[in-house]
Every structure is written in C-alpha cells, then in structure tokens.
C-alpha cells in the first residue's frame, strides 16, 4: 500500500500532503523535512527510486513541482511512478495545463481529485474518464447548488 504522498516545490514548499496511515503531527513534520531534503538533493537524471527506512520512495519532478510517493517495501516501483503520472494527468485534465499556482489556489480541488483516485493507500479508480466524470459531476452540483442532487445521480 501507499503510505503518503507529498507535493512540494523546488524551494521545498509543501503544496499537498496526503497520509494514508495515522501519524502524529510531529512525525509528519519530520517526514516532510526528510523527504524534501533527500529528494531535492538528488542530481537530475538520477533514478526515481530511493530506499528510506523500510519504505521505498518514488519521486518525480513535473515542472516546478516534485511528487513524492512512499510505498511499502514489497510494492512495485514502476506502477507507483505511473500512479504519480496518472494523478498529474487528472489534475491537468481538470485545470487545463495545470501549474503549481492552480494547486496553490485550488488546493481543496487537488485533494478532491486525489480522493477520487486513491483511497486508503490503494488505487481506487484507474480510469481517467471515470475519475473526471465524478469530479465534473460534483462541479455541476456546485454550479447548480439549488438543483436537487438526484438529478445528477446518473453521473455517479
């Protein structure tokens, strides 16, 4: 299973944090610090995998943002790398040419999209269409808040 996902900028500013196991705020801060120092210190064109404690760290840089995903030791690194990519695609599809600022200003949306995609540290829905359909469905709900919810049930 996945343990956590962090998004941070090249300057080490955290943009998103998702924890799939309970963790104290102190532990979280320590991990965030470890991850940013470790990943930011990597040379370009190094491999995307690291060992850290008993976990594997999979990271990838997209423009100014680093995506950093921790998986358990027996898990598959390459498919985890594609988990990151699929999430980027989902963000891109939703925001249209997603950039760091989109995630800063619409952080709650970034969390919602992630929740449609991953759950409890496992992949929930791998189909881009399915995820986007649910996100758009909820946006429809927002734009038309006065409408009754069951009219859009079909999108579920």
């Amino acid at each position: 299973m996945m343990r956590f996902l962090l998004l941070f900028s090249r300057q080490g500013k955290l943009r998103l944090q998702k924890w799939f196991t309970p963790m104290s705020e102190r532990e979280k801060k320590k991990i965030i610090r470890d991850m940013t120092t470790m990943v930011l210190a990597r040379q370009p064109r190094s491999c995307n995998f690291l060992h850290w404690k008993d976990l594997k760290i999979i990271y990838k840089r997209y423009a100014s943002l680093f995506f950093c995903l921790a998986i358990e030791n027996q898990e598959n690194e390459l498919i985890a790398l594609e988990v990151i990519h699929r999430y980027v695609e989902l963000l891109d599809k939703y925001f249209g040419n997603v950039c760091e600022l989109d995630i800063i200003f619409n952080f709650e949306k970034a969390y919602f999209i992630l929740d449609e995609f991953l759950m409890g540290g496992e992949i929930q829905e791998t189909s881009k269409q399915m995820v986007n359909r649910s996100i758009e469905a909820s946006d429809m709900l927002q734009e038309d808040d006065s409408s009754e919810w069951f009219e859009v049930e079909l999108f579920g």
């Binding site: 299973m1 955290l14 944090q17 309970p22 801060k29 040379q43 064109r45 190094s46 491999c47 995307n48 995998f49 690291l50 008993d54 030791n73 598959n76 690194e77 390459l78 498919i79 790398l81 594609e82 990519h85 699929r86 939703y94 925001f95 950039c99 600022l101 989109d102 800063i104 200003f105 619409n106 952080f107 709650e108 949306k109 969390y111 919602f112 929740d115 759950m119 409890g120 540290g121 496992e122 992949i123 929930q124 829905e125 791998t126 189909s127 881009k128 269409q129 399915m130 649910s134 469905a137 909820s138 946006d139 709900l141 927002q142 734009e143 808040d145 919810w149 069951f150 049930e153 579920g156």
Partner: protein
C-alpha cells in the same frame, strides 16, 4: 489573480491565499494569518448565524492555514456542522477538513459518526462515497466499531453502484488493517472473491486490493481467488490493447489490475491444479514474450507500465521458485535491463536479481553477470544505483567469486559515498569471514578495511577479527606479524591500534624471535600510539602491557616505569588510573607462575552467530536481507560459515576465578579478597582485573554483550544446550534468549559446591513475579536409594528484575553420593503480560567434586593394576570433534578436575590423570588415560575407578569434550 478558480470560486479564499503569497517575510505571514484567525473566530462566535457558504469559506481558510504548518485549535465544530448540509460542496469541505485535521481520538467523533451514518443511509452514491472516504481517511477505532459491520453488506449488495462498491472495498481494507478484530468475516467473503469476475474493472481492481490483504492474513479462506485471478489475468494479457478502453494505459492493458492480480497470486504457492498451473505459466510466458516485442509507443509511460507488469511477473516467478525455465528467462531479461539506458530499469534489475540470486535454479545464472555489476559499481552516476549493485554483489557472492567481489568492494570503498560506507564495511567483513579459505586472507581483508574506512568499522567488526584469530591457532603468528607491520604506518587508525594491542598482547611472542620485532620494539611501537588514543583504547593498551610483562620478562622494568609514571598512576581517568595501579602491583607481587596463570592466553570463544551479521540484520530490518539467509547457504551445499569456528565451542571468555590456581582445591585462607593488596584501597573489587581478558572499554561484560547471539532455545523443554560446555569449566553463559541471559560462576571444594547464578534482563522492561527454584530431576528422586544423592539449596531472589539489570542467586550444593542426573533450574517470570517459563539444566556433574592427586609413575601403575577388575574399567574409542591440540587437551583434563601427570606414561603423546571424587558418604579414587591417534583423528579414553558407575559416568562426561 493568476489562477482560474473553477466551480464555485470562493473569492475571499483566493484573496487570502494571494495575500499570504505576497508576504515578504515569515513575520508578515504570521501577522496576516493571525489577523485572519481573529476574523474567523469573531465570525464563528458572532450572534448572526452564518450561512453555509460563509461557513464553508472560513473552514476552507482554516484548512489552508493548517496546511501551511500552523496550529488550528477551533473550527472543528463548524466543519462537523457542514456534514449535515445538503449542499454537496459544503459537505465536501466539511469532510475534507475532518479527514485532514481530526485525529482519531477527537471527542467530536460521535458527532462525525452521526453525519457519516446519515450519508451512508442516504442511498445517494456521491454522499455515500464521501462518507466512506472519511471513514477510510480517519480510520479510527470508534469509526470501525460504528461501521465495520455495515460496510460488507454495502459492498456485496446487488443494487450498490459500482463507484460505491469500490469505495466500500477499500474502506473495508483500511479498517481491516487498523482494527482487524472489528471486521467480521462471514458469508460476504465468498461474494467478495467473486467481485474478481465483475464487469467493471475499477471494481475488480479495488476488490483485488482487498482480497490480497485478507488472503495474506487467512490464505485458506480466500483460496478460491486463485483460479479467478488466473482467469482474469489471462484475459487481460491476451486482450488486444484497445479492448479494455479506458483501462488501457499507454497501450498496456490494465497495468494496475495486472500488478494487483500478480501480487494476489504471491500469497499462494503455485496452483496445484495442473490445468490452472499451465494457464498461469502461459500468462507469465506471454508477459515475458511481450518484453521482447518492439514498444508500441515511445512514451516512457508505456514502457513503465509494461515493465511494471513484467517485474511483478518476475516477482511471482521468484516467489514460486519452481519453474527453472521461467527463472532463467527472468534472469536473462533482468540481465538485458542491467545495461539498459533507463536508470530506473538498471536499478530495478539489480534489485530483482538480488532475490533471484537466492534461488538454486538461478544463482548460477545471476553469477554470469558479475562483470556488468562490478562495472555498475564503478561507473553508475547515481548513488542509489551503486547501492543496489553492492547489494547484488553481496547476494551473488559465494566461495568461487568471493576474492574478486571482496577486492572490488574494497577498492570501491576508498571512494564510496559516506552514506553507504558503514553498511559496505559490514558486508565486506561478513563475506571475508564467510568465504575465507585461508585465514591470512581474512586477516588481510579486515586490516585493509580498517585502513581504508577505519571510521566506519564498528566495534563488532574488530571484535570479530580478534575472536577468529583467537580461535584459529594457525593464523595467530601471521596476524601478529601483519598487525605489527600495519602499526608501522605513521598515521594509523585507532581501531588498528586496538586490534594491534590486543593481538600483540596475546600473540606477540610468536614474532618476538625476529630482532626487528623484538619485545622492546613491539612495546615501543604500541606505546608510541598511546598518547594519541582515546581512554578505552589506552585502557586496552595497558592490558596489553601487563600481558607483555608476562610474555617477556625482559621488558618488565621498562613497562613498570611506564605504569609508574605520573601520567598513569595519577591519571584523571579513574579507569586508567586503577588499571595502572593494579597492573603495577600485580607485576610486583605476583610470582611468575601466578602471573602466567592470570594472564594465560585467551581460551577460544564459543561458537555464536556472527555479531556482524546480527548487526547488518538489525540495520536492514529482518525482512530486508533475503540475500544471505540460511536457505542460500544450503542451496549451495556449502557450510563455509560453520567450519571456521565450530572447532572451538567450549568456553566463553574466561574469568579470572577460573584461572587462579587456588580455585581448586581451595585452601581455607583463600577468599575473594585474595589479592586485595593489589587494589590499594580502591573501592572497585579486584574482579575489575577480569577485564583484561575481555575488551576493557565500556565494562566488564562488554565482549559478552556484544557477541551475544540471538539463539532461542525452546522454553518448555529443559535447556541443556550449553550443559556439556561446563564439564571442564565453571564459569560462563549457560542460557540465553532474547529476554534473558543466565551466567554461572561456580566453585567447588571437597563435596561442597556453590554456584552464583546471574540472571541478566536483556530488555528494557521490568520482569515481574520472577522466581527461580531448583528441582532435582525425576530420575534422581526415584533412584533406588531412599535419600537423594545431591542436596541442592537455592536462596530466594527478588521478585522483580529491572530492565538491563542483573540479579544474582546463590545455589549451594552438597554431594552425598555419586550421581548422574543434574538438577534443573526452573525460572518463571512475567514479561509484558505473558508468563515466561524456562528450565535449564544446571551443570553440576560428578567430576566437579574431584580433588586432583599428584603421584609418581610407580604409584600410578601400582594403583592402575589394583583397579584391574573388568567392572572397574570403562574404555571408549571415539572420533575427535575438535583439532587435536596438546595444550587444549591439557587444559581440558585439568579443567576436568584431575591432576595431569607428566612423564608417567611411557608414550609422551598420551595424557594421564589422577584424582579423588569426594562425596559425603565416600571417596572414589580415579585414574584416567587418554591416547590420541592423530593420524586416525581418534582417541581412546580409559577410566579406572573403584566404582563401576563412577567410571562410566566420568567416561561419558569426558569423552564428549574432545
């Protein structure tokens, strides 16, 4: 404002975020945040009821502030209120806030649970999903208690929407991980397995995750999933790439699901059903074949997804470890990746090959890639790839390539990244020991290690080299010569000084014949390093010096001068000062004989698991060392590891009491304060001197602690693993497991004995209700004699033993008549709530009540003839289990308790001894003769005593020792 805000667009939030971003300093940011917090607080407290939109906006701002890393101590209630909103976006923000901020022990849980309950009951799939996500995100016990029984029915209900099924499956998975006891198994499990057949691949993916986790815990219950998983996998790998529509990812059919299914199959052995098995083999072959096809896309996503499935298939092949053709194909495939231009693939190939190296079918195939791997170690730019190369070299190492691999690792170590040096040092040390053909190579390798990476050589490593040198007679001279030469270097590492000090102190005499390394030269060389060393090393050197006084009387005066100097006798460090004083006194008052006995050469160390290996295991975690487990050693048919030390499994580091000639028989005047003059009023008991036989740095029992192994004797049976080691000695560790170490010190006089039993709590937790009593074994009680043969009395002990503390118990023994069975020590205590029971056979044997008897040749043969009745003699011929070393044999016979009679037997190769067994009722005179035949590696042992039972028992005891 740069970014578009889709959907509702909370303008206030965007303005706030923008403000924060424009803050020039941390202080300005804090100021802006405090202003906002005050504003939100006043809004929440205000009289005017807030509308849903405002509430949502403020909760969202709080969430943002929290995610920036600031504490939030209010707003939880407003977030919970949002849950009951019937507006989706408000509900959604409420749930998000709770997922991120509410920890599992919040007192709001019951309110939150209420919101979740309503949404689960709403039958609105969007709301149900939000509720299920919240449960999975928070995952607290209260939530599990409230919902765990309800979720399985949502999962398997026929009318549940697909997306809800997916959420329910993963929610259940999460609860099963955190509170497995609350997730009831039941008839739903069978129906969950059938979700693998579901039309909707998203549902299948989620279900596969759930089933994998459940199957790991109870494989039997989910066995039916094997055939369904194979069928599903088969359909995926043979499908055309467009068949699966949106589940095809960059021309790869359902890679996530494929990986999941292959993982699920790794919970089980290969399918028993032949048809199923061949269908699975076909799948795996297809996956391997696809790797050879030209890529359908140049995108890295295509190759990643394809190779993700391939690596998982290889993992399954390795897991099954039953199809040699598949294993070799997998190995060849990984071999191609070793030279791939993608760094990721090279990294993963090295990693996978590590596990392949441990299979007997593919170990040889892996070894063919050695040059590529060595090249990777030298040329890879990325340290984490080099690290994997080190791991693989370690895993593929065996006797055939050990010299090459160790040499390469040593040369890499000179420039290796600091982050991996310590681990590399451990690995080199282990390989050098494990595959050493000759010990000179081993000694060279370790000294090189210290030279190249001295700072990273942990204590375990240099302890181990000393242990091995002490146990291997044939390398001692070479080791002395080599350390002597290494110490010539103007700047040598302190670890080398430690090893040098220890080895020259023990074996310096072996090279003293050469004038270039005469005693004085050796001493001056060591002493030239003294002032640059830390206190523990200096302490060790002082011990080496007193050993020198014993080995080389000619340097006694020089060394005494050094010990007498103010910098020693008045050293600010109490340990150094005490050593200097004690050693100086010892050198002045003790006769050469006593000195020789006290400072006798170290006895061999007991066989134990290599402490270095234990350290590496600890460092990597138990699960992370698949590459060097015992299975591999057997696979190669090699028992290299044991042969180097198995010859010497008799005695833990000797304690001085054992060596003092006054120990047995003990004159009435001798007492523990025997040499109290030597302590010069120091508050330390003289037993401190014992350190000189172990490593003197951190405490008396350091060596024992560090080298202690991890063996786990069965607790219910009477442990007698170490029993026979005590036949010829009285002190040492009789029992050890993860929790407890039991050490013994025994002394005997005439028919009386006293054993000091030391119980060491190895944990950091207190042992409670500790009790320990001695029972004579059953056969002893039911012996034909109405009274017992031994009187054993154990004093009561404290009922608690603190973590890390040692408890001492005194056991008094009186031997009434000759006996065979040893008493048993029964120990009970509570550790972490569970009752531990241990039974250990106490090493009380008949020979402990020996008094040695010196006699002339004439006397001996006269008595030998007197005991000529056939029943009085017991003879046995047996094969030598240890190297046939005269000195060792002498020591053992002395340790057995008899006097060793020199010049009695016409054949000087034979050993002859005499003694009297003292029991309360009677005394039994014993004569023994041991005739070694070095060519045949056999011994003949003959015992003559006035009692048949005594002859037999003594013969049994002693014949076990050679």
């Amino acid at each position: 404002m740069p970014a578009v805000s889709k959907g509702d667009g909370m303008r206030g939030l965007a303005v706030f975020i923008s403000d924060i971003r424009n803050c020039k300093s941390k202080e300005a940011e804090v100021k802006r945040i405090n202003k906002e917090l005050a504003n939100i607080r006043s809004k929440f407290k205000g009289d005017k009821a807030l509308d849903g939109y405002s509430k949502k906006k403020y909760v969202c701002k709080l969430l943002f502030i929290f995610l920036l890393g600031h504490d939030i101590d209010f707003g939880h209630m407003e977030a919970v209120n949002l849950l009951s909103s019937n507006k989706y976006t408000e509900k959604q923000i409420g749930y998000l806030f709770i997922s991120v901020l509410v920890n599992s022990n919040s007192d709001l849980i019951s309110l939150i649970n209420n919101g979740i309950k309503n949404d689960l009951a709403s039958r609105n799939p969007t709301f149900m999903n939000l509720a299920l996500h919240c449960i999975a995100n928070v995952g607290s016990r209260e939530m599990a208690e409230a919902f765990a029984s309800q979720i399985p029915s949502i999962l398997v209900a026929g009318d549940t929407m697909d997306s809800v099924k997916q959420s329910a499956a993963l929610c259940l998975l999460r609860l099963n991980r955190t509170s497995p006891d609350l997730v009831p198994m039941g008839e739903w499990t069978a129906r969950v397995v059938h979700l693998l057949n579901d039309q909707h691949l998203g549902v299948v993916t989620a279900a596969a995750s759930l089933i994998t986790t459940l199957a790991q815990k109870s494989p039997e219950d989910f066995k039916t999933s094997i055939s369904l998983a194979v069928a599903r996998l088969s359909r995926i790998v043979t499908s055309a790439s467009i068949d699966l529509q949106d589940y095809t990812y960059y021309f790869v059919a359902a890679p996530w699901l494929s990986v999941k299914l292959l993982r699920l199959l790794q919970c089980y052995p290969p399918p028993e059903d032949a048809a199923l098995r061949s269908r699975l083999t076909e799948c795996l072959e297809t996956i391997l074949n696809k790797a050879q096809e030209p890529p359908k896309s140049k995108k890295v996503q295509h190759s990643n997804a394809k190779n993700a499935v391939l690596f998982e298939a290889i993992a399954l092949i390795i897991h099954h470890d039953s199809e040699p053709t598949l294993l070799v194909r997998a190995c060849n495939q990984l071999g191609q990746f070793l030279q791939h231009r993608e760094t990721n693939l090279r990294y993963l190939a090295l990693e996978s090959m590590c596990t392949l190296a441990s299979s007997e079918f593919s170990h040889e195939a892996v070894k063919t890639h050695i040059d590529t791997v060595i090249n990777a170690l030298k040329t890879e730019r990325d340290v984490s790839v080099r690290q994997r190369a080190v791991d693989l070299l370690y895993a593929m190492c065996d006797r055939s390539n050990a010299k090459q691999i160790v040499a390469e690792m040593l040369s890499y170590l000179e420039n290796a990244d600091y982050s991996i040096r310590e681990e590399m040092v451990l690995k080199v040390a282990i390989l050098a020991e494990k595959y050493a053909v000759d010990y000179t190579w081993y000694v060279d390798t370790i000294l090189n290690l210290i030279r190249i990476a001295g700072d990273y050589v942990s204590e375990e490593v240099w302890y181990r080299v000393i242990q091995i040198v002490i146990n291997q007679d044939d390398v001692q001279g070479y080791a002395a010569k080599t350390v002597f030469e290494a110490l010539q270097a103007p700047a040598c590492h302190e670890n080398l000084v430690k090893v040098g000090g220890y080895i020259l102190g023990e074996f310096g005499n072996l090279i003293a014949g050469d004038s270039r390394s005469s005693p004085l030269v050796q001493f001056n060389l060591l002493h030239s390093k003294f002032h640059l060393c830390s206190v523990p090393t200096r302490a060790l050197l002082l011990s080496a010096y007193i050993k020198f006084i014993n080995l080389f009387p000619e340097v006694k005066a020089t060394i005494q001068d050094v010990l007498r100097s103010d910098s020693q006798l008045r050293n600010a460090d109490v340990e150094l000062q005490q050593r200097a004083i004690e050693y100086l006194r010892l050198s002045c008052i003790a006769s050469t004989d006593i000195l020789a006995t006290v400072l006798e050469e170290m006895p061999p160390f007991p066989e134990r698991e290599s402490s270095i290996l234990a350290k590496l295991k600890k460092k990597k975690g138990p699960g992370n060392l698949p590459d060097i487990d015992d299975a591999r050693w057997n696979v190669n048919g090699s028992t290299e590891h044991s042969e180097n030390t198995e010859s010497t499994n008799k005695s833990p580091p000797s304690l001085m009491a054992d060596l003092l000639p006054t120990n047995r028989p003990r004159p009435a005047s001798s007492s523990p304060t025997l040499l109290s003059a030597g302590t010069m009023g120091s508050s330390h008991p003289f037993t401190d001197l014992l350190n000189l036989n172990s490593t003197p740095s951190a405490g008396a029992s350091l060596l024992v602690d560090v080298l202690s192994d991890i063996s786990t004797p069965a607790p219910i049976n009477v442990s007698e693993d170490n029993f026979s080691r005590f036949v010829c000695k009285n002190n040492g560790v009789i029992y050890e497991d993860q929790l407890l170490q039991i050490g013994l010190k025994a002394e005997y006089r005439q028919n009386l004995g006293r054993i000091y039993v030391f119980y060491g709590n190895k944990t950091s937790t207190q042992f409670l209700s500790f009790s320990s009593s001695v029972t004579s074994s059953d056969t002893l009680k039911t012996h034909i004699l109405p009274t017992s043969l031994l009187n054993v009395h154990a004093k009561a002990v404290d009922p608690t033993v603190d973590g890390g503390a040692q408890l001492q118990q005194v056991v008094n023994i009186e031997c009434l008549s000759d006996f065979t069975d040893a008493p048993v020590l029964d120990i009970q205590f509570r550790y972490g709530g569970t009752l531990q029971k241990i039974a250990v056979k106490l090493p009380v044997m008949l020979n402990k009540f020996f008094q040695p008897t010196e006699m002339t040749s004439q006397d001996f043969f006269q008595r030998w003839k007197q005991l000529g009745v056939p029943q009085q003699e017991v003879q046995t011929i047996f094969k030598a289990q240890h190297p046939m070393d005269t000195d060792v044999t002498n020591a053992k016979i002395l340790g057995f308790g008899v006097a060793l009679l020199i010049g009695v037997d016409p054949n000087p190769a034979n050993f002859v001894g005499a003694g009297v067994i003292h029991t309360k009722n009677t005394q039994v005179g014993c004569l023994l003769r041991l005739e070694p035949n070095t060519q045949a590696q056999m011994y003949r042992l003959t015992l003559r005593t006035s009692r048949e039972s005594v002859s037999q028992r003594l013969c049994d005891l002693l014949s076990d020792q050679f």
